[in-house]
Subunit: 443 residues, 2 copies
């Protein structure tokens, strides 16, 4: 296949490394070989084009690490628009769970994930962190699309369409680990649905498995205000985070999705144990969960990533919208225009997501890291004119750009989208699959 | 010029009338002649194509009224990215006002408005309500772009680059009225900057002029919490809205932009006097002004429109982002997933904006209204699959669509954009003008 891990050279770009020093080159290059970035620097140090498989002139573009969607449920794309503007419990009980019960299968999850990957690649997302059912199908669709993914089977104390018991979910997780250990794109993760849907036995067993294999432990945490009250095993009014800490599953590779209702002591615990958070602002607003205290979490030293959640509660997988909201919401809520400046929002979507996932290979553009890269066009009406002070570029990305401005997406050194044409998936076929599925009586 | 007020026929579309009954046709048509819509209905009643200048097959598209940006400062596009993430007063005093003092001129305002119109047309906006300086230049650029605009000279008690005194601002307003009375696209408005920057004499004089001519009276109202304290002429702790009501300028063609800090009695006053509000969620978040109580305003009977504010505090003119936020924010803030459902958000951006501007000719698709139309592509990964219950279409528009999905924009019966190619402006030239302006030492 074309551009499968060749040598790529991106030239004349506005390069944002997103490294600790926030190094940037207003006219810079990025060179890759195989799956890795070999070097990044100013155009004055650009290697000669002759040694590369393909040279992409990125004039008028920003080049940044591929965006990391640190919490999602990819197969839910097929439920996008099924039911909206409803209270969480009615949305779940009356619509989502019945639809999942009726439709979920390995085939469903494979195809619905393909649609999610198509949308993700078109918006510059290189890596997703997924929690759903039939994770083997999700993993296989992600790998086939060329994207990078942390993929886990959502284990829960009730029967699911993929696992009659939590022990079956555990077994599916073990099989996923066996199948994908060392895979270049898919990293298996260990996934418990939430403190309120898993007993301490499930949580400690699964967390033990994640520690045994050094894998991510992914769990919903304090998404709604009600969660504390409905988590039966909590003691003496402790918070879900405190409960997880007590039973020993709060870190160091634990990622808590949402964290809307964590309070100061929870954040201190999370920072101490190395538990990361994933902020999902659109979904938290749409499901009326609230607004996560991201500024306080960052100040407490918690690693924070950014995610879309599933397409049924968003209703898209557009990380640019999450990036806008991550920067805008704290300002309006805290009445502080300096809260979470643009560059910090871009960081959450890139290096912050990598830190939250505990993966040092991604999220930063520099020699030796994996070549996961987003190239976004800045020659648009909505990003013109372009001021040149160092912080301006982050403002354009955080406040002005939109997903459709993404021009090329590169994962593991491979071009998955060139000039908005997705190369690793047949866009028309993927859309037709989804439309045919719904027309086939599913809706 | 091509398609200047010909006869257009839009076929096979998902037509959203946005009329009071929210009539919709899953397979419908819209017919226009000259500046007007002649009929709207199901495809079964579609007139024969032979009688039309141009037939647009809108298969897989939604056709809705052109979006109405009910509060903006168009020429501020040239200050996009100049300064961000700053407290309001430092942003204004140290950056925006000095830049305006240095650069504002009729020529600047003409060209910066062209860029704003280009961006607006590309995102399906057909009508803008603008408040800025050198309004004659703004009006002329809007008219030249083919867009519809309510345009006013921002009158204020201090000298401005366009008017040494408020009386000069008044005179500019009079001239604007004389020049644009009866213009097919530009409706002059009477514009006072804000209660805290205008004396009662200025407010009543200008409001009197608006009544004399039956024009819109456009003013910033309760944008920040500080406004009440810095409005010197208020009495006995009255709110800005109460003060405006006392001096007789709160309605019925008054539009208050922002209304973030209006309280229940203010809303009752606004509803009684027919004073409308324009909600600008992105700008209110970004400048840390807060979140306007839109649900309460709507419940109180206030007409509410939606706007972007200027591109320097947004930082784009993307009404789709405002539409998303208008629906998402109340849910997350009020912890009520049923607050401001998707169809109501689409309404704010169309018929709601028309009502806020007091213009019955726009904002709804039906025979006899002006042919201001937005055609948006739904065959995208992020709007697939498409459920078909009546409310689903609003969910796709409010939660999933993005500005780049807009396919055609029609204003006054004229195609301003066809298949994303802007016909009424030279896109490359407009971008180059802006870039050259900044490169010419302006930055």
């Amino acid at each position: 296949m074309a551009n499968q891990n060749g040598k790529l050279l991106l030239t004349n770009a506005y390069v944002l490394s997103m490294d600790g020093a926030l190094r940037q080159y207003a006219s810079g290059y990025v060179a890759t070989e195989g799956a890795l970035i070999t070097s990044v620097g100013p155009m004055s140090e650009c290697p000669p084009a002759s040694g590369f498989t393909e040279v992409l002139d990125c004039r008028d573009c920003a080049v940044l690490p591929g965006l990391i969607n640190a919490h999602t449920h990819l197969p839910m794309t097929y439920f996008r628009g099924l039911a909206d503007d409803l209270p969480l419990m009615s949305w779940l009980n009356d619509h989502i769970w019945p639809a999942e019960g009726e439709h979920l299968s390995p085939d469903f999850c494979y195809h619905a994930t393909r649609l999610a990957c198509l949308e993700s690649i078109k918006s510059g997302v290189s890596c997703v962190n997924d929690m759903y059912l039939f994770a083997a199908s999700v993993a296989s669709a992600v790998a086939d699309s060329g994207m990078r993914g942390f993929i886990g089977e959502g284990v829960i104390q009730f029967p699911t369409p993929s696992a009659p018991s939590w022990q079956d979910g555990l077994q599916l997780t073990r099989e996923l680990i066996t199948e994908y250990r060392g895979h270049p794109l898919v990293e298996p993760s260990v996934t418990c649905h939430a403190p309120y849907t898993c007993t301490p036995e499930i949580l400690t067993t699964l967390h033990g498995l994640s520690r045994e294999h050094g894998l991510l432990f992914h769990i919903h945490l304090s998404e709604t205000r009600a969660e504390q009250g409905i988590t039966e095993w909590l003691q003496n009014g402790e918070s879900p985070a405190a409960g997880l800490a007590r039973i020993g599953v709060l870190g160091p590779r634990t990622l808590g999705a949402h964290c809307v209702w964590v309070e100061q002591p929870d954040m201190a615990l999370m920072a101490t144990h190395g538990c990361a958070a994933c902020h999902c602002p659109t979904s938290n607003l749409k499901l009326a969960s609230g607004v996560a205290p991201t500024v306080a979490m960052l100040e407490a030293g918690v690693n924070v990533g950014l995610g879309t959640d599933g397409a049924a509660s968003n209703n898209n997988l557009d990380m640019w919208e999450e990036l806008h909201l991550a920067s805008l919401l704290p300002k309006g809520i805290l009445l502080d225009a300096e809260a979470l400046p643009a560059q910090q929002a871009v960081r959450l979507a890139t290096s912050g997501g990598a830190a939250a996932l505990g993966d040092k290979r991604i999220g930063v553009l520099e020699g030796g890291r994996l070549a996961d890269i987003c190239v976004i066009n800045l020659a648009t009406p909505h990003t013109t004119p372009r001021y040149t002070h160092e912080s301006a570029i982050y403002s354009y990305l955080a406040y002005s750009s939109q997903a459709a401005d993404v021009k090329h997406t590169i994962v593991n050194g491979r071009l998955l989208m060139r000039d908005r044409e997705v190369l690793s998936l047949n866009e028309a076929a993927v859309l037709r699959e989804a439309t045919d599925w719904l027309a086939g009586g599913a809706g």
